[in-house]
Symmetry: C2
Subunit: 387 residues, 2 copies
């Protein structure tokens, strides 16, 4: 078991109707609010009006149109500008992980005099950040309970994970009913994203009875509840279990004391969605089975056996590699069963830029330090196996 | 799934050698420190000297002799007096759960002008508390990651759980090597305490796939690792897994969104250790099987089946009540296997005050609101079945 230093100060306010606590929570931070959101979905579902009504005594400025794979320019830069000009006290992010990730970069940039890209690339360490409150409308990234965000810069094909303890949301509101209207495609992609967050922690050298059981429960919760959400999008319990299983995804609680995996799938997927702007969760699902096959070896087989036996109920008396291969197949079949396009070609990615993307990943994602180190060639092989 | 509002601000600094961070952590809170501890064990193991050496630039005042089932008078009162007289900035609790529980009551009392008993009995709500840093030397109560403490008042046989969000420790240092010298008796009692914390959350009306898996992993981790610690007290990995499994015990993370159990075993055990000053974990282990048998019914049997199948691997195809009864027997046998005295008589409790204790519990612990409500007669029956 490894040493760790862990603290998640975020308050989780979870359940049906909890938004009624929003005004009292917001009053703790000040009167001048930057409300951030994406497209029109929060308007369609009535959440935008509800927030405006609840915060009618506040001064609200807005940044809308934050897109999936949120962009440095214009979203982060525009948000920082509003915060500085309007002397914003607190950011209220309403939406999915992209809106929240973007808001985290804005929160840091608002308190920094230079170019916010300095912070995102760790050229300069942030000293301060605006507080963030969020209302989550998509079960997926776990950004509501972690200190990170991922920001894309189109002109350089960069998609960078930016982390700082200053960026934990102060308060996250999680009402599962807000996810009733999430499309089948986004429900599945969110599930795949969260599944992968757990895989990135599960597949490592050294874990514990406690962490393995917690993560295996996370896998099962996500798989069983995603199916239920697709069958009945208004199944409250299934949406609620999905939401909490996703919330724990990236904050470390699933695996305190584990040795790391190095987050190889996320490293590779960052290139796919930076180059092609695909849906992050779909990109992850597509490359995961190829990555698993690529790293299966005498060194790793025991983890795959544990995964196969405990998550999929595969007969423990079979040959180790047979269990491992069946576990990989079950993973693929699960993603297929929730209608994720399981080939890169289906999301518009062909052979043409694979070598370029593999080079970009090898140079920027540090995957030579992953549990199973990945070279540029390994990465290209995994991409090709996923075509 | 129930609504919840959850926040644990405590920072966990976990692992071998982490105490080297103590001076920098303490500097964040001030120079004037109240060092609280129990008997001589932290001196014997060299931890007292190490702390004094690390904090040689601080002004340290001491409160020692804090006993198991920590006492309002003298421990809490003495501590409050020192804090007020010496204008203490921060409390450093070094020891097990009793030292930390006592320190929490001191932290609140130090910032209150009246009798601290007003706070402990919720007659007055605390407005402020001193920050607490702790160094844990016993895997058991989870006080290092929760906002509660249990304080005893001998003259009235009161043992009261006192909770307030102000009482979360600011920083908890958890070095598993400090538990190498814990006796077999205390190792077992700590395991039983932590097992029971999870049971008090597991046995309820409504849980989730995620929570059940997490808690079942907690049970297994505690049972397997307790055996290993008893076989080899210096097994680092086993001590570390024990420690973390205990840390999560009472802070809610094992069961966010579950309906509650009402903590019936703790309610009953409070009387046992208030009247007889027995070891808390032993008292819990002794009454647990009797409580389980008492509440087993058509309403509860399915939870016992889940527990039996998933924790003890009992054949799921058997009759439900057979599985449940075997699960209760396995629980008893596990506690016996780690040498816990499994009868009240063995810890000096006889028939004589059972009715008096049952009355005290019924009047003070609110067990009429437990998942399976317990009347005064039920409580007396469970005590008698445990004789």
């Amino acid at each position: 078991m490894q040493n760790f230093d862990y603290q998640t100060p975020t308050r989780l306010v979870f359940g049906k109707g909890v938004i009624k606590k929003l005004p009292s929570v917001m009053r703790g931070f000040g009167k001048r609010v930057l409300l951030t959101y994406g497209g029109g979905s929060i308007k369609k579902m009535g959440l935008y009006d509800r927030v405006k009504e609840l915060l009618k005594d506040f001064e609200i400025y807005e940044l809308s149109d934050i897109r999936p794979n949120p962009k440095y320019d214009p979203s982060v830069l525009d948000g920082v500008k509003i915060c500085k000009e309007k002397d914003i006290d607190v950011i209220l992010a309403v939406g999915g992980g992209s809106v929240l990730d973007c808001s985290k970069a804005i929160a840091a940039g608002a308190k920094y005099d230079g170019d916010p890209w300095d912070l995102i690339t760790y050229k300069v360490k942030a000293k301060e950040a605006l507080p963030i409150v969020d209302i989550i409308t998509l079960a997926a990234t776990g950004s509501e309970y972690d200190m990170g965000g991922v920001i894309s810069r189109t002109e350089t094909n960069d998609k960078i994970g930016y982390m700082d303890p200053l960026l934990y949301p102060a308060v996250s509101f999680l009402d599962p009913t807000y996810t009733f209207t999430v499309s089948a495609k986004q429900t599945a992609a969110g599930c795949a994203d969260a599944m992968n967050h757990i895989m990135e922690q599960y597949f490592c050298e050294d874990s514990t009875i406690l962490n393995d059981g917690f993560m295996e429960a996370g896998f099962k919760s996500l798989m069983i509840n995603a199916q239920k959400c697709l069958e009945n999008p208004e199944d409250y319990t299934a949406r609620a279990e999905m939401m909490l299983s996703c919330t724990y995804g990236c904050n470390g609680i699933y695996s305190l004391g584990n040795s790391g995996s190095g987050w190889p799938c996320h490293g590779m997927e960052h290139a796919l969605s930076a180059y092609y702007d695909i849906t992050h969760g779909e990109g992850l699902a597509i490359i995961t089975p190829g990555w698993m096959k690529h790293i299966l070896s005498d060194k790793t087989v025991d983890r795959f056996v544990k995964y196969g036996v405990n998550v999929f109920g595969i007969d423990a008396s079979l040959d180790k590699f047979e269990i491992a291969n069946r576990a990989i197949e079950e993973t693929y079949k699960f993603f297929e069963s929730i209608n994720i396009p399981m080939h890169l070609k289906e999301v518009g990615i062909d052979e043409s830029r694979i070598d370029e993307m593999a080079k970009h990943v090898a140079e920027n994602e540090g995957l030579e330090n992953a549990w199973v180190p990945l070279s540029e060639k390994d990465i290209a092989d995994i991409f090709r196996a996923s075509l």
